[in-house]
Symmetry: C2
Subunit: 375 residues, 2 copies
């Protein structure tokens, strides 16, 4: 089995047809935003797995694989806690204008827009500064304006604008895996956890692995003892956030049933568990969506299963297992990239140093990328 | 075991502390509305069971008994399909202004407002005439303006304004049971089903029973054959609604855990199954919430269980079973009262005769009550 490679952009948009748009507002009490993942017209198979104890969601019941609506046009990740659910209305409005959604009559659609929120209230200083309908609309417009396969802005953008991860500045990260079969599996994470993304005893990111050192620029090895001690002191002085929520989308171009997509969302939570400790707390609303565009058969045509139903089922299970493992890895890596892309923020809502800043690492390509970015 | 009696109002408000408010708009293309069940300040234990295949919901994941938020201030039932979810934002706004919601910091709350929608788009003629934030706010204001224990308007009000049940006009109904123990169990239903509330072979309402004839004014006996034949002809000429959704709240003043409340919501679906056939279709989004105010111990103090943990558990199970059975019955009866309270509508969005009209029954007290009504 050959080692999976990253996708060309190492981003969610490596899954052909998916677009990502961010909208955010900073300054004047604001530090929040919205990220929209926009499917190609007609929608894609979508599932959700809610594992945090404090979720804020909308239209997640529709995603139960037993239920009617088969395909989803857009998924919304938003700041603003429960208030931020309004941003999904702006996305629904935009979709309806374009006749995109569940068809309910001649020329009539109801866009089913699943959404999940993260807690970032007050991070910019003003408690009432929350994403609204207009910001949701701006995010989906930003997504639509992008080319397919466009790079995805990381760091303090979109729903990651006000994100904090265990006292460090959080944000948006993305990563993609290209399997030997040619199937792409990718993830986008908005890291805003009560738990920590860093091992306080070594300064290494929990999600970093030697094998990913080339892609990530960090290798998971312990940092110098004095750096670790200084960081520890500074972190322990900071107030940990009372509420979190890491939101994510895991996606693939493989053809999955809705039940299989649900499993992919679950695999994403495994990837999250490797990058955030503790995770899935009662005070987190950790939610992972899965989207499957169905561009490629689950079992590639040039690798047909042996004849017979049992072998066929085994081949499908094997192919799905490969996608699940890749989805978990992509999400772990997306969390690491989010943290490495974030820049520290100090303002009326608090001081949230970046990981790079706290551990004396150079701001790398990722960090610079995050300063520009669409939306 | 004595026969349960109805509550004094035979309404959801017989559960002390719960208030009901309706807001609606009719005419000029409109035929839709919102119904809010408002808990006493501090909230009540709330659960949800989504059994329809086409649900539109918000904040239902927060109600999972494993999750953080323990008490809910208000539940929203709304027309407008997925678009109607906006009305919950108006309720959240009103609650936040009063400092009611999940506490997240000094003087700071996030109101978690579970909501479910029903499909009534276009019933008033105008596709874009849907409940919005303002209508949600109006409904919660109407609820707050009512006295505790106030009568609840039934029929074509609130979320039932545009409701249709298998070609007949649907609406809001409510009923309450007072158990011999003194515990109250009540229900409110917004009947808007693809399936039928009436047995086409007899003209009797599925949910009607001889034992309830005094409360309902109908006894479940077959109507005259010529009436049944005429009604059948007229109904078969009508277009059945493509999408439905019956929404309900079942409530009790007993002290329930969140998991027990989940079971009460499930019992509500049994009551629904007895009143609507077929029910829980893919094209319905049937959703039942349960609310438990906790005013009374589950096992009344004057009926202590025999000593020993097993007997205690049995007593609790027995008490809960009584509440579950009463909840199912209350919801069945609420559906019947909704249908009996509805008045026929004929407008640009279609003609929906009432059950009373179609089967030549006098408009009774219920029907007259429904013409006035708060909100």
């Amino acid at each position: 089995m050959s080692t999976p490679a990253t996708g060309p952009r190492d981003a969610l948009t490596d899954v052909r047809g998916l677009r990502v748009g961010h909208a955010q507002r900073t300054g004047g009490g604001w530090l929040t935003g919205v990220t929209v993942v926009l499917a190609p017209e007609g929608g894609v198979v979508t599932a959700v797995d809610v594992r945090g104890g404090g979720p804020g969601t909308r239209e997640t019941d529709a995603l139960d694989p037993r239920n009617l609506v088969q395909r989803i046009e857009a998924v919304v990740l938003t700041g603003g806690s429960a208030f931020g659910l309004d941003s999904a209305s702006g996305v629904a409005e935009w979709l309806e204008e374009r006749g995109r959604g569940f068809p309910v009559g001649p020329g009539r659609v109801v866009p089913v827009v699943p959404a999940a929120v993260l807690f970032d209230l007050g991070r910019g200083g003003e408690w009432s500064a929350r994403p609204d309908r207009g910001m949701g609309r701006a995010a989906v417009e930003a997504a639509a304006a992008g080319e397919p396969g466009a790079p995805v802005a990381q760091g303090c953008v979109g729903a990651g604008t006000g994100a904090v991860a265990g006292g460090l500045k959080g944000g948006v990260g993305t990563a993609a895996v290209r399997l030997a079969s040619g199937t792409t599996v990718a993830a986008l994470a908005v890291v805003n956890a009560v738990g920590s993304v860093v091992d306080p005893d070594t300064g290494a990111l929990w999600g970093a692995r030697r094998a990913w050192a080339a892609e990530l620029g960090v290798d998971g090895a312990p940092l110098p003892a004095d750096t670790v001690a200084r960081a520890r002191e500074r972190l322990s002085a900071a107030q940990p956030p009372p509420f979190g929520t890491t939101l994510a989308v895991v996606a693939t171009d493989a053809e999955l049933t809705r039940a299989q997509a649900h499993r992919l969302a679950g695999a994403g939570h495994d990837g999250l568990a490797r990058a955030v400790r503790p995770v899935h707390l009662l005070s987190d609303g950790d939610t992972v969506f899965a989207m499957a565009t169905g561009d490629r058969p689950l079992v590639p045509a040039d690798r047909p299963p042996p004849a017979g139903p049992v072998f066929g089922a085994q081949a499908a299970a094997g192919a799905l297992d490969g996608i699940l493992a890749a989805g978990a890895d992509a999400l772990t890596r997306a969390v690491v990239r989010a943290v490495l892309s974030a820049r520290g923020v100090s303002g009326p809502g608090g001081t949230f140093p970046s990981y790079r800043e706290l551990y004396g690492l150079q701001e790398g390509a990722e960090g610079r990328e995050s300063a520009d970015g669409q939306g």
